[in-house]
């Protein structure tokens, strides 16, 4: 049975002291312990940004890839080795800006992965530019008169497309967030957790401002109720209901046909085409046999 310590590594954490990212890291560790996953069963995929550094601080397999591109990498990983618990750790810039196209198309595919977005409404690692979730009017280093365009509402887009699991967490409510991560990882298909993670260095508002506005969803909300979920996602921009917003009806995960027809194990373990198979196939490229595929 793994313990929190099994997930510790002695890599120096490069986040600012006091950053809510620490809370997310902690929630991750707790969730993996609760799920009884060992580090080798877990694979974290990230892009580039402060958020995307998280995999370095938690002992497990990881692929820290390009800015904006963790989701397609995760799709490849999950397809190649479905036995892994594949989790994407990403930022609002990484996932909704540079990587926006991959996200909306991942929604269509319903791969069995979990995407956790550290949503700090800013590009933190590059020193404070606006991100796709920065509220209108807020000042950023490149938007000195305030952001003039509207934010993107990815949770609403996800609910609209019947994303298997949509939740919102708060980086400072560690146990609550841990609960969400446990459920998200357990949930089959595409699970998506947008985590409010104030940036205390570049952001304009103290953590307390967020704390005052965060509200845990209770029994009154039924995640199967799409309209209610959508209402929460579209609600007042200065209120942060946290919890599971939406859960779709069960649906086929990405690649299920291949899994049924070919293999449901790691692709690396499949035998390759035999000489026999090859020759049989090639002989069909001879007149008299007919093309094997037509």
């Amino acid at each position: 049975m793994p313990s929190i310590d099994d997930y510790a590594n002695n890599v120096e954490i490069q986040w600012c002291p006091g950053c809510p990212n620490f809370g997310i890291l902690q929630a991750f560790k707790k969730a993996l312990v609760e799920l009884e996953k060992t580090p080798d069963q877990v694979c974290l995929i990230s892009g580039i940004g402060q958020a995307a550094k998280l995999p370095h601080y938690l002992k497990c397999n990881f692929f820290n890839g390009l800015h904006g591109r963790p989701i397609p990498v995760a799709l490849g990983v999950q397809t190649a080795n479905p036995d892994l618990t594949t989790v994407v750790v990403t930022g609002d810039g990484d996932c909704y800006g540079e990587g926006g196209n991959h996200f909306i198309h991942a929604l269509r595919r319903n791969p069995d992965i979990t995407v956790v977005v550290h949503n700090n409404e800013i590009y933190a690692l590059t020193k404070g530019q606006a991100s796709p979730t920065t509220p209108q009017g807020e000042k950023r280093t490149l938007q000195v008169k305030g952001v003039d365009i509207e934010p993107l509402n990815m949770p609403a887009i996800a609910i609209l497309h019947d994303c298997a699991f949509v939740a919102r967490g708060f980086a400072r409510n560690i146990d609550h967030l841990k609960g969400l991560l446990v459920e998200a990882i357990q949930h089959p298909g595409f699970s998506y957790v947008d985590v409010i993670q104030p940036c205390i260095t570049w952001g304009n508002r103290p953590i307390s401002w967020y704390e005052d506005r965060v509200r845990e969803l209770g029994e009154e909300h039924n995640p199967k109720d799409k309209d209610a979920a959508m209402a929460l996602a579209l609600g007042d921009k200065d209120e942060f209901p946290i919890g599971i917003l939406y859960q779709s009806e069960p649906k086929d995960p990405f690649g299920h046909r291949y899994r049924d027809a070919v293999t449901d194990g790691p692709l690396a373990q499949m035998p390759s085409l035999s000489e026999d198979q090859l020759h049989k196939m090639l002989s069909e490229f001879k007149p008299g046999a007919g093309r094997f595929l037509d």
Partner: protein
């Protein structure tokens, strides 16, 4: 016999492709070596396209332009393509035309005599078979294979259509058609470039392909996705090329041999991913099927315009391998080699093909793989403390995949330490990692094949080429030698890193390339101390041929 060339021309949607394919298969079934290639516009209906079939006793596998027989499916095709006809060539058309035209109203015949317009194609093939003096029975065998699943009735109608076409042609041929192609005892393999690559990939253990459609590369993923259950390759159409290469890298990291395929613009979008393959040391095979650029260019035409772009693709400095196969069989071998070397050196490998190679079909006496898959994943049980980027003397670190064992596989696109963690240690780790990645190149350089040498012993001029231009250059050497011009050939199919090689010192050199800036010449100048005479280039979107090279050679080097 001298090789014959049959050109079928018409609008997209008129059936050129079907007629051409059925005829080609019939000829192969008759025992001949057939080479087909096509040139077509970027549209779905209309325009003017052609499908050329070269017929010989032994495989030449090189395109010809001049036609012995031209089947023009419409009047526009007559006008555009009739200049291709040799003096003694035969024009076949639907409508009565000039003197010496074999006029067979395929559609009318199909409608009136067979019952449905759709049989017009078969009437046309029948007529071609008649004109060429091929056995009608051979055509019927091929038709049977193609239509057996469509039921007795359809099959019979096709037979009938073929017969009518055959008879009409024989009747009208009189003494215009001197050809006779009696059955021969050969059974050639008849394989397309875009068939050879996916089959080779599956044979090489490829398990994952993600790609975004782009002419002329689309055939590769199409083949694999149709054959998914049989070949077992997971095929996914990505949302864009960036997604495609990143999915492939994810799969590669997770232990599956993985590939993607694209053309110029899509490849341009992938170069950041290729750089990441270099940094993370993740094997991946990228097929770059060239077409004329820049930008959208000529989407359905051919070119060798991306050589230097491919070699220099990606920011930063890292090892990659660039292979440019010359035909379908070579593409098969190089594809297997690509996967093996990508795996061994943990690098991106670029397979440079082009529209000619992608769309052409080649004949071969045999089609034996020269190599099979060799795997280079490490054995986790032999490792105590696993470090993904262990600094070994040859630069190659043991590669495991996540979930393979209790060892954790940590991979980073930032500069990293041996464990795969971000490093800022500029004094030791950073230069060591840079050197590690480049050191792998020393091993790779020794594995790269030297160029092929043909008739260079007595050559006064050596034509230096690469990739799909090989057969045309070979043919030009044949033509020039017949004129007593002492030419030889040096041909590269492994282009980066370049092998150690000594060019002949007494011959003058020029490159022959399907591009405008003679990129191979530039490349070779940077690696060897060479100078080139005026190079032969072709950049109109059409493939090089022996005859084109011969003419250019004389025009430039008299």
């Amino acid at each position: 016999m001298e090789d014959l060339n049959v050109v079928i021309a018409g609008a997209a949607g008129e059936g050129i492709q079907t007629v051409g394919e059925v005829l080609a298969k019939t000829l192969v079934a008759q025992g001949y070596a057939v080479f087909t290639w096509k040139e077509y516009e970027s549209r779905i209906r209309g325009g003017l396209n052609s499908y050329s079939i070269r017929i010989g006793e032994a495989p030449k596998n090189a395109p010809l332009f001049k036609a012995d027989v031209l089947l023009a499916l419409n009047q526009g095709a007559v006008e555009k393509y009739q200049d291709l006809l040799k003096e003694e060539g035969v024009l076949m058309a639907q409508e009565e035309g000039k003197e010496g035209v074999i006029a067979i109203p395929f559609e009318d015949i199909a409608k009136k005599e067979v019952g449905k317009k759709i049989y017009a194609n078969t009437v046309a093939v029948g007529a071609l078979v008649g004109v060429l003096g091929v056995d009608l029975e051979t055509l019927k065998t091929v038709l049977k294979q193609i239509f057996s699943s469509k039921g007795e009735e359809v099959q019979e109608a096709n037979y009938q259509a073929a017969e009518i076409g055959f008879e009409r042609a024989q009747r009208d041929c009189q003494d215009m058609c001197p050809w006779s192609l009696p059955p021969r005892d050969n059974t050639y393999f008849f394989v397309g470039g875009n068939d050879a690559i996916p089959i080779a990939a599956a044979y090489a253990g490829c398990r994952f392909i993600s790609a975004y459609p782009m002419t002329p590369s689309t055939g590769i993923i199409t083949f694999l996705s149709k054959a998914q259950d049989r070949l077992g390759v997971f095929a996914e159409q990505a949302e864009d090329e960036i997604g495609a290469i990143n999915m492939a890298l994810g799969a590669g990291y997770a232990g599956a041999r993985a590939m993607t395929a694209t053309s110029g613009g899509g490849f341009a979008l992938m170069v950041e991913g290729i750089s990441m393959a270099g940094m993370t040391e993740t094997p991946v095979v990228v097929v770059l099927a060239q077409r004329p650029g820049p930008a959208t260019g000529l989407p359905t035409r051919t070119a060798q315009g991306d050589l230097l772009f491919a070699i220099n693709a990606g920011h930063g400095e890292f090892l990659k391998l660039v292979l440019a196969p010359y035909d379908a069989k070579d593409a098969f071998q190089k594809t297997v080699r690509a996967f093996n070397l990508a795996d061994k050196y943990q690098i991106p490998v670029i397979l440079l093909t082009d529209q000619l190679l992608a769309d052409a079909h080649y004949s071969y006496t045999d089609f034996e793989p020269a190599t099979s898959a060799s795997y280079h994943l490490a054995d986790p049980s032999e490792i105590d403390h696993y470090k993904r980027y262990h600094l070994s003397s040859n630069g190659i670190s043991p590669r495991l995949y996540p979930g393979q064992s209790a060892h954790l596989v940590c991979v980073d696109s930032d500069e990293h330490d041996e464990q795969g963690h971000i490093t800022e240690d500029l004094s030791k780790t950073v230069p060591a990692m840079v050197e590690k990645r480049l050191t792998k190149g020393e091993g790779l350089k020794n594995e790269v094949a030297p160029p092929e040498e043909i008739q260079i012993e007595d050559a006064e001029v050596v034509l230096v080429g690469w990739g799909s231009a090989r057969a045309a250059i070979l043919e030009s050497i044949h033509l020039l030698r017949e004129e007593d011009v002492k030419v030889g050939m040096i041909h590269f199919t492994e282009l980066w890193p370049l092998p150690d090689y000594r060019f002949p010192e007494n011959a003058s050199l020029l490159t022959v390339e399907n591009n405008a800036t003679a990129q191979l010449a530039r490349l070779l100048r940077s690696e060897f101390s060479l100078s080139f005479k005026e190079n032969i280039r072709r950049y109109d979107g059409l493939p090089l041929t022996g005859e084109y090279i011969r003419r250019q050679f004389h025009a430039q080097h008299r």
